[in-house]
Amino acid sequence: MSLSPLTWIRERVPVGPEQLRELTNEPVPNHLKKWWWCLGGTPAYLFVVQIVTGILLAFYYKPSPQTAYESVRYITEEASFGWFLRGLHKWAATMMVAAVVLHQMRIFFTGAYRKPRELNWLVGMCLLLLTLIVGFTGYSLVYEQLSYWGATVGANITDSVPVVGVYLKELLLGGEVYNENTLSRFFILHAAVLPVTMAALIALHVTLIRLQGVTEFHFRDEDRKKPAFFNFFPDHLLTELSIGLVLMVLLSVLATVLPAEMGPKADPLSTPEVIKPEWFFYVAFRWLKLFSGTLAVLSMGLIVFLMYAWPFIDARIRRSRPESEASVWIGVAGALAIIALTVWEASVAH
């Protein structure tokens, strides 16, 4: 008697619809029915877009100073739909940074990092930094003037770190200065080391969310008689899929209307008169103009350390002053400072 393929598979993978429902049906608080509370899923979706488009771009990309620029030009101008895939990759990177920052701001201003979720805040901080680093290494791969000098400046920033800086810089560049080995290092970091690390951290992030549940919020205008939760499957999954569809439409429009372009090829002997990094590094770039090298790097390191430690600092403040709203005011001041430095850097040539 022959078995149906489905029965054959079920005999070997004994997981049916009931078990699948059991595995996926995390109770989801009602506020996640609104899309602006779902910003955590957005960077995860964009991460998948980046993996898929990145793999496709890697089929043609050649990471060496002699070939990199030409291979990106080939992708952009000759390979079928290469311009579209590169545009998707570029815009998804931009949107991923924006989504991670917005998600983190939502977590910060709603206090969702507080006990018992401090560890997940630390994982989220690592993901924020990795998103920025993966953006930096990816931008450097094009080997055009701005990406070359951006990579040079970025690598030299590590040199400003006391004691270990010089070793970090040489490890990153594969030599004392940008050289033949540098692009392949950036490529391996961008296409393998960082994405694998991010995938592992995203898995840990989601696992911790599943273990602790999504933070609950209660609003003044909500109906107390209604259930406080709804099912992940299919309700929340459909919300996430709808967001994914909107993102894909948005990315396609951006990639078509504002496609990724090619600047002049890198010239290691001539820094352009006006040099700017990607917009999400404007803050750091302006900071580096305001303070001397080591002071700027150490102060940025201190700010990042305080961001990591914030759940523990906040807990200490709230132990002594339970009604304190220090986190809100510090958050507002930080957000305004970031916006001000970004606008400042964007509005001037030097």
């Binding site: 002699q66 103009k289 001397s292």
Partner: protein
Amino acid sequence: MHTPERPPQPQPPPEGHDSGNPPDRRSFLARASSMGMIAGLGASYGTAGLYAARYLYPSKPRDKAWMFVARIADVAVGGSLRYTTPGGEKVALARQGSAGTVEDFVALSSTCPHLGCQVHWESQNQRFFCPCHNGAFDKSGKGISGPPGDAGQSLPRYPLRVEGGLLYIEVPTESLEVADASAPREGHDPCLDGGAPL
């Protein structure tokens, strides 16, 4: 036949004997072997990690060589010349003394000491300017504003040597492919006093 008496054998302790007492030989051996295994794993993976780090770290410094620049008699006191390294980097070289020794000369790199961008000479402002973070240097290479000025940094100087009336400079010999390969990049620029004034 006399059979020698065997010495009394130590009796195994009853179950749960070791709670609260010093560890007996068996538990000591179990712990020691566990510790040994952990130490062995740590040492072996640690060694592998060190090898990996050493593999990734550059195995040799940047190649450099001494290159001929000019006869010192051809460089007037107070004059300057522009030299281009085999890698294409521009070097501003000046003579500031008349002793005929290496101390008469300075050779300024065009690489900004702040974060490695290339500076260029602005004749209208009489300064070297770095477009990356607004660093500025006077004609002697001293930082005068921007992050290099704040940190008291100057443009790096290349090592020089005088032998038999000839001036030599030690410069890197490796280079990346440059955008405009047709432009002359290597060797002595014959246009004395034509470069950045010092």
